[in-house]
């Protein structure tokens, strides 16, 4: 067997004189899925991406050893990644008045900063204002899927019908049964690894073979089982058995150092939108791609009231263009799609487009994170070194709060992501005191004996949690920027306190010595799971989109990204974003075929 790298398909010429069947704004998980579904249904699609088309293997250089890089993966001098401290003591725009040439979000501070400098946006060009928010943006073909964490989870009716369960917020206009067939399609088309656990609150996927749990993880799984809690191998949006229908992706072979880069996988075993969705869509002959295209307005035909296309700027030349299409699909990310709707204001739509409800930008929600725990398994100290980071992730502990019982302090729940074992850079090295031969041996002996986990909890959607357009501040292209009005509330703080307690208890119960506890909540935005801002619903007065992510106000306008979510649940959203987009685009193609759009 030989590794065969398949070059991306050739680009089709963009014809802006033409009216495409559909124009999609954004090429991440949502936009890529829309492109896949619509082109497979024979529609001619133009895909606009604000960022560059990158040669991602060259960007990520996944197999470059740290010592092959002059700064061991760090940025060159003059570039800077924002720290938790900066997010905490300062207000946005964070890059204002800085001496650095380039400023990136905190993701740039993970190991391998230099490999993401062309994927993450430069905060200097992309300011925002208002309350503190660690907003991570990737402008490149594929968006954040180039660097995502790969945990691929389903939502359940505990999420879709959360209001019916606890009385807070709104139910989704769909139930799990509506989405289950589309979760299946996403599983089979993109590949997902995991173990079936038959949990009502975390439905199983159509799994390929799972990654293995190691000694410490198995011990924790067995200990948790006594209390009815579950520890399951990381459900990863990674193909472990291969995908015969996709020539651009290879199956995972457990190479290692999966967590060294911010998520990048140069063999594309981990899902990313370009190789998973966009290149195959280009191969249908129905997809035209234009990168460097910054959409700033959905153009509406004044006579018909229908969306006519998308006005955009070329990011390099700053020239204006309009892409015309019969259907407009926004997939620019939760916050950018909301921004685009708000930017598309006009005398007919003074509050922004598709916003007769006044809910665009509101009900903004995400996941709260920060609390976590590190444990040491004494029996593993001094054992021979094994390859443990050849997995896309270690384990996941699904939500256990507020399912059957009711917590007194808070509603909803949280899950834990964690892992154990050796990594390329020895865990514990920075925290080991002392120096000399003793220090060196301690680091070596303990490197594989740690187990750590951190929680992701549901942040409640609240009408007052919102973004709007800043009246004064503009980005490098002269486009008004978002202003945040968003802070965690009491429910999140109470939940975070509980995370600390349960994390510690679970390790102690398993006979693992707790050596580190993180109590601090990280800055709003840190989870990179922003959701809401254009929620679905049956009632046009209190929602922006219907159950097919179609604007209540404008029939040929769809918003297929995370902005449509009614609540955040505590499960990572990418798989749900793609299942919803698939379902909506199936409906869209049906309606288009019938001439209803």
């Amino acid at each position: 067997m030989t590794l065969v790298r398949v070059a991306p398909p050739l680009l089709q010429d963009v014809d802006l004189a033409r009216t495409y069947d559909a124009v999609i704004v954004g090429s991440g998980a949502a936009g890529g899925m829309a492109a896949h579904v619509l082109t497979s249904r024979g529609m001619d699609v133009l895909l606009l991406e604000a960022g560059k088309k990158l040669d991602i293997e060259r960007e990520l250089r996944s197999m470059e050893w740290p010592y092959e890089h002059p700064r061991r993966g760090d940025f060159p001098p003059g570039s800077h990644a924002l720290s938790f401290n900066e997010y905490t003591i300062r207000q946005p725009p964070y890059a204002k008045k800085t001496a650095f040439k380039h400023v990136y979000s905190y993701v740039g501070g993970w190991s391998g900063s230099d490999y993401v400098k062309n994927i993450l946006v430069d905060e200097k060009d992309h300011p925002y204002t208002g309350t503190r928010y660690a907003w991570v943006r990737a402008r490149a073909l594929g968006g954040k899927t180039n660097i995502w964490g790969r945990l691929a989870l389903r939502l359940s009716d505990y999420d879709f019908k959360a209001k019916s369960h606890d009385g807070y917020g709104e139910d989704w206009p769909i139930a799990y049964a509506d989405l289950a067939p589309y979760y299946d399609k996403v599983d089979l088309y993109l590949g997902i690894s995991g173990v079936a656990e038959n949990l009502p609150h975390l439905p199983d996927s159509r799994f390929q073979r799972p990654t293995k749990l190691n000694t410490a993880e198995v011990r924790l799984r067995q200990s948790l089982a006594k209390t009815g809690r579950v520890l399951t191998p990381y459900r990863a949006g990674v193909t472990t058995d291969g995908l015969k229908h996709n020539k651009y992706r290879s199956k995972c072979f457990g190479r290692g150092a999966c967590n060294r880069r911010p998520g990048g996988c140069d063999i594309h075993a981990a899902f990313d939108s370009p190789t998973g969705l966009i290149y195959p869509a280009m191969d249908t002959g129905h997809l035209t791609l234009r990168t460097n295209s910054i959409a700033h307005e959905v153009v509406v035909d004044r006579n018909t009231g229908r969306a006519r296309g998308v006005a955009f700027l070329d990011s390099v030349t700053h020239r204006s263009y309009e892409a015309k299409a019969k259907v407009v699909i926004l997939a620019a990310s939760t916050l950018e799609s909301a921004r685009l709707l708000l930017l598309s204001r006009s005398p007919q739509h003074p509050n922004g487009l598709a916003n007769s409800s006044g809910h665009v930008g509101h009900n903004f929600c995400e996941h709260v994170m920060g609390p976590g725990v590190t444990g040491l398994v004494r029996e593993l100290v001094g054992k021979p070194h094994t390859l443990d980071d050849g997995r896309p992730g270690g384990f996941y502990i699904p939500r256990f709060r507020n399912l059957k019982e009711r917590q007194p302090g808070f509603i909803r729940g949280y899950g834990f992501e964690g892992s154990s074992g050796h990594e390329m850079f020895p865990p514990g090295a920075f925290g080991t005191p002392g120096f000399g031969a003793g220090f060196k041996k301690t680091v070596r002996d303990h490197a594989g004996a740690f187990i750590g986990m951190g929680a992701f909890g549901e942040v409640l959607p609240r009408y007052e949690s919102h973004v709007d357009l800043d009246p004064a501040t503009k980005d490098a292209w002269g486009i008004p920027v978002l202003r945040f009005h968003y802070q965690f509330g009491d429910n999140e703080r109470k939940m975070a306190e509980d995370m600390v307690v349960t994390a510690r208890e679970m390790l102690e119960e398993a006979g693992v010595e707790v050596v580190g506890v993180d109590r601090e909540i990280l800055t709003e935005g840190w989870s990179i799971h922003e959701l809401g801002t254009a929620r679905m619903g049956a009632d046009p007065k209190t929602s922006v989109l219907n159950q097919f992510q179609q604007s209540h106000d404008i029939r040929n306008l769809f918003v297929v990204d995370g902005s449509s979510h009614v609540n955040a649940s505590c499960q990572n959203p990418t798989w749900t974003i793609m299942a919803l987009a698939w379902r909506s685009c199936d409906y869209l193609a049906d309606e288009f075929g019938k001439g209803n759009l």
Binding site: M1, P70, R71, S250, F253, G254, G256, A257, L387, F435
Partner: protein, 181 residues
């Protein structure tokens, strides 16, 4: 000057040697230490002191070579040399001076002229404040150790000889990939 040039050339050669037998081709490496960096940031004596300190922090033992063999001091110096923050460079020079001052205080000699036991005594004193540093020497110990740890465990020797890391290589028999047939 010569010491500095040697350090930098060693750094390049070390990288080039790794490139000679790579599993995957990476780009040109020779040009990677920026040309605009100052020719010299530490004196010969300071470089030698830094080198000795890193080796004392992570020494060669029966299991694997230490920080000196891994070129940690040269790596730190290269980063200092290209930094755009003069105050950071100044802090390192000042920290190195604080080490010598502490050595004078404890043994009456500069660090590199002290006996091995006396050197360890100086470092032990510096490390005493690791959890709550108070003096300049104690604060310098924190930064010195962070960079030494980072430099060592991201080095060829740190990853392969010390940690015996098994990943980041294609695994024949396991990896199928997309089969062109």
């Amino acid at each position: 000057m010569k010491k500095k040039d040697l350090s930098r050339r060693e750094l390049i050669e070390a990288t080039a040697a790794i490139l000679a037998a790579p599993l995957l081709k990476v780009g040109v490496v020779g040009a990677r230490v920026p040309a605009g960096a100052p020719a010299r940031v530490l004196t010969q004596a300071e470089s030698a002191l830094l080198d000795e300190l890193t080796e004392l922090l992570i020494p060669t033992d029966e299991h694997s070579p230490g920080a000196r063999a891994a070129g940690v001091a040269a790596y730190i110096e290269a980063r200092l040399a290209e930094s755009l923050e003069p105050e950071w460079r100044a802090r390192w020079r000042s920290g190195l001076q604080a080490v010598d001052a502490l050595s004078h205080e404890l043994s009456g000699k500069p660090f590199l002229e002290a006996t091995p036991d006396q050197r360890v005594a100086v470092l032990t004193r510096m490390a005493a404040g690791e959890s709550a540093p108070k003096t300049e020497a104690e604060r310098f110990f924190i930064e010195l150790k962070q960079w030494t740890v980072r430099g060592y465990y991201t080095s060829d020797i740190g990853i392969h000889a010390d940690q015996e890391y098994k990943g980041n290589v294609y695994q024949p028999g396991e990896y199928a990939g997309f089969d062109a047939k």
